[in-house]
Symmetry: C2
Subunit: 365 residues, 2 copies
């Protein structure tokens, strides 16, 4: 358990908040606080630690030697959102990175995860990426998830512990319970950089996000590396809501893109430049069109629920996630075996600023 | 004069600093403070007010009606740096926007401004843009200044007053003293938006920055409007030092670009996308090359001085402008009638980060 004085101080400073999901009461760290990461959750005598930040390298040729001193596992980094799945009193819950029990993820997890896993292992926490075109959070999805979502395991934590299960124990549990997991490209030596680059070139061509590298040692050191495709796609997908992102979002991705291209020796040709220019501008043109014609800049999301009650709960949850986004429910209807929820996120910064500027307003910079 | 208590408080908070230029002692507001703009300068019983910020519109069709209620003058906005030129005890000085007496600008102003102006008008301050490929501050310059710099008058202030001389008085003084000034496109009515757009299209084709519009009324309301060319060029020229800029520099220009193109009906074609993509990436590739081959990301500047002493003074001044930029003198030699100073600005953020990343370092984001 965390020291009482840390909890008291976090509560006092508003960094630890009380939440309730269908009667399950818990506390949630809203930000990093002292040594406790954002999204860490507490209930009764249990702590589920927040998922840690993983450093990113920009060059494989030098990065591998600089970061690792032992062979390392290579796993696909799937483009979705991070969930931590655990059981409590016979119920299975899924936490977002920020530490909310998410009604959507919780509703759908048993479509992908064998519940026997938690019966046998109530002390474990599955760290999974939820990805697909019908997820409520991120606008990107891997090319091989054509509809709905899928869950992909990448780590297993132990309740009350901040580190992960050893790699081979994770592999054993994946096999034993047929857990869906991210693609594993195997164990690499420090001198296999060229093979690794080959994998990255292939992932880039297949429009996949990148890899996470995990040292095969007790240190369990990790770094990630992202394809040029994913960097361009981040720009393409977010430019509609350019003002809703942290200001260094784009400079960061431009730098990654330049370094990826430099290292991979990808042609610096007109096709690349065109793709980047279009990634920036097409979303902005679309935002202008929306602001003019609809009076708001928005994006529509769809997702599929098993339970209608959880769909309604979810829409209430997501309304309070951001003060910069207004969420409006568009429809909720039964379709086949699912309840299909449609909602829009109205990007208030873009809507407000474009409305002001298109109406002839001025800005001082 | 400014109230004594404002001065005392600004001094106490470090917003008002004492400076000395070759024996001329003055005080300089380092930031906006209460109602006093950054760059405001005081000496003896004189205040030279900082040049005010001018709002920017993003759409002419709606912006003109929204901003103005009387005809307005249209002037070229020249791409250079802002200087305020004045005389004191027979000497002529030029202030930067930040309120430094600039050794370079001061050295060269009499090549462009008739000194009789200040003999006859010691109470006036000329607000001028200094532009050209051989200026020490900005990396852009207007296409029609092929070498060295030129000075362009756009406003005249009166010492101790915060507003400007009436427009027609300015025109009279320009004529009387043959002062070099920005191009004046004349007086426009509120319904001449299409003509104005025509001028902007031409300026865009001629690779010029844009216009400043000034209402022909006692209110003297001003706004500026920038061409698509200038926005692209800002990106192209600065991408080498992407991390040295405020984080919203690029999102701001992307938004302006999108709105300019929307309004002007410019083809959203591959050429435009390519130009934007190249603007972002070519500087970053060049920065990577420099970091690898030279161990630093830098840009070389040249400028011409009349006086060797002022060149040496200038290089000392510019060394202290930013903690993110290291300035190294490369050479100072007599060439024809000028002293030619060459120096480099080493961009420390880019140099440091690219060195770290190219060496295999990681970043947590």
């Amino acid at each position: 358990m965390l020291p009482q004085e840390v909890l008291r101080e976090a509560l006092k400073r508003g960094k630890l908040k009380s939440e309730n999901f269908q009667g399950f009461e818990y506390l949630r760290f809203t930000d990093d606080f002292k040594d406790v990461p954002r999204g860490t959750v507490l209930y009764k005598d249990t702590v589920i630690w927040g998922y840690p930040h993983i450093g990113r390298i920009f060059q494989l040729s030098t990065g591998i030697r600089e970061q690792f001193s032992a062979p390392f596992w290579v796993e696909e980094k799937v483009d979705g959102y991070n969930a931590r799945v655990f059981s409590h009193e016979g119920q299975i819950y899924a936490l977002t990175r920020g530490g909310y029990v998410c009604a959507f993820t919780t509703d759908r997890v048993l479509d992908f995860v064998n519940p026997r896993f938690f019966e046998d292992n109530p002390h474990l926490v599955l760290c999974m990426e939820v990805a697909g075109p019908e997820n409520p959070y991120v606008e990107e999805s891997p090319p091989y998830v054509r509809e709905d979502v899928r869950f992909f395991l990448f780590d297993i934590m132990v309740k009350n512990r901040q580190d992960f299960l050893p790699y081979r124990e994770k592999l054993k549990l994946i096999r034993e319970y047929s857990l869906p997991s991210v693609e594993n490209f195997g164990l690499f030596n420090l001198d296999q950089v060229e093979e690794l680059k080959g994998i990255l070139r292939r992932l880039n061509e297949e429009k996949r996000e990148g890899v996470v590298l995990k040292e095969d040692s007790p240190k369990d050191k990790r770094v990630k590396y992202i394809t040029s495709y994913a960097n361009l796609n981040d720009i393409r997908v977010t430019s509609l809501n350019m003002l809703g992102l942290p200001p260094d979002y784009y400079t960061n991705r431009l730098l990654r893109l330049a370094l990826f291209i430099e290292e991979e020796g990808i042609e610096k040709d007109e096709g690349l430049y065109m793709e980047l220019g279009e990634a920036f501008l097409s979303g902005l043109f679309e935002a202008c069109r929306m602001a003019k014609e609809e009076g708001k800049v928005r994006r529509v999301f769809r997702c599929r629920f098993r339970s209608k009650e959880r769909a309604l709960l979810f829409i209430e949850q997501i309304k309070h996630v951001s003060t910069h986004i207004q969420v409006n429910q568009l429809s909720l209807r039964k379709e086949g075996e699912f309840w299909l929820l449609e909602f829009e996120k109205v990007f208030l910064n873009m809507t407000g600023l474009l409305g002001h500027l298109l109406g002839g307003g001025s800005l001082v910079d």
